[in-house]
Symmetry: C2
Subunit: 265 residues, 2 copies
């Protein structure tokens, strides 16, 4: 029986064998993108160690700074965003548990956008060197990171479509479908519901809508029996109809792990 050998295993391995996946959302995410060895998982646990709590609506990286570390979200929701001079802001992407804000952007003269929390978050700061070390020693991890980046780019393309040619209700429906799948992938959703402590103003900054219109659009989604909200949770009541409304195609979130045409580089 497994329990007989349990005392000899380290914690991540034991968790992994008992329930099939790690409690570290970074491991859970990357496991879905490339096969990981126990050593790979271990280094990822080291990267995730030392996480700290961050309040909601707080900046982690300010626009114009030059960070020397990446940030890994372990709990809660953070985002990249840009401000305009007139005070409007645009949220560029959500960072969910397991998502990493890589500081490659340091190549630019200044970082051109900010990183901030939406809800309260648990965030690990990963020094650049630690990340490079992990990637150099663990090719599977490097591979998984590359694939994560490719998915991230696909998500960004979908956001462009959202802002460019979907109606208000379609934008929000599409966003909710995306978030459900991404959160399911890291074990942060139950059935079709998840914690969603994002304000309507922030939803507006995400979807390019005013908070008033977000409010009315949410009411319409509720009226149609597609979602329910409350207690900082979002419950998707009718996923098939929500997906149909948003014309949501899940493919872009799931890279084909089998066919790998780009191991080198």
């Amino acid at each position: 029986m497994l329990s007989m050998t349990g005392f000899a295993m380290n914690a991540p391995l034991r968790r992994s064998l008992l329930n099939g996946h790690s409690s570290n959302p970074l491991v859970r995410k990357l496991e879905g993108l490339a096969p990981l060895s126990e050593a790979d998982r271990s280094i990822l646990d080291q990267l995730a160690a030392g996480a700290r709590l961050a309040d909601p609506h707080v900046d982690l990286i300010r626009e114009g700074s030059a960070p020397d570390a990446a940030f890994l979200v372990l709990k809660g929701i953070a985002c990249r965003y840009k401000h305009r001079q007139d005070g409007k802001r645009q949220i560029l992407s959500y960072l969910l548990p397991g998502d990493l804000c890589d500081p490659d952007i340091a190549h630019l003269s200044r970082i051109d956008h900010a990183l901030g929390t939406l809800s309260a978050c648990s965030v690990a700061r990963i020094p650049r060197e630690a990340l490079l070390f992990a990637v150099e020693r663990h090719p599977n991890v490097a591979q998984a990171f590359r694939r994560a980046k490719i998915v991230e780019e696909a998500v960004t393309r979908e956001w462009l479509v959202n802002l460019g040619c979907r109606s208000a209700i379609e934008r929000i429906a599409h966003l909710f479908c995306e978030l459900l799948l991404r959160l399911q992938a890291v074990g942060f959703a139950e059935n079709d519901s998840f914690e969603f402590p994002v304000t309507q103003v922030e939803l507006g900054d995400t979807t390019g809508l005013s908070n008033v219109h977000v409010n009315r659009t949410l009411q319409e989604l509720r009226r149609q029996g597609l979602i329910a909200t409350g207690q900082r949770r979002l419950i998707i009541l009718d996923l098939p109809r929500l997906r149909a409304l948003a014309e949501f195609q899940a493919g872009y979130l799931q890279p084909a792990v089998g066919t790998d045409l780009c191991t080198a580089h």
Copy 2:
């Protein structure tokens, strides 16, 4: 004098010494991102060889296919785009001379967007292996490609802001500012004007506006004395005012070549 030794040089070097830059837009672009040796330039010229002409409004890569080659634009304007079921489409990015559509996206089960020409184009098809070979043997080229990618991501972020929170006139003004700078960087602009054979429908697909509204917005830009159009050219008459109107910050197009925090990877 230079001409005395000219006969002993190969063509790219001679061009390079005579007028300070290559006629290959890929070389011109990457030169601005990393220092290149003569061997680097030579390999880039090889990549650009064998270009073929493509008609306007033609697909180079169709949505759902799995390309094994990258495409390099040498002349004209191409774009990535996505279609919606109802026929609307969103253009995701412009590929100007020197821009490369890398096929990393083959990681996804299917490529989730199409690549097509806007104007007539001269396009080189670069087999995956040739690209990998060049990158492996020429670290400076690899470095420049990485930086090009980072700039591309910054451009995408700016497009998200465009679609999410700028008005019609600001969106178009911002796009024109971006295109001017990008085209200047590869020598495809004279003063503040450039060839711009993009239809108003396509401008609408780019900016998330209807063609009618694009038309009226262009009229407004002309009326304010900011631009002039005709003969498939765009002339920017008052760049400072256009930039002010768009709140255009050029920084994101110009990575800091001096401070390189990420040579490894």
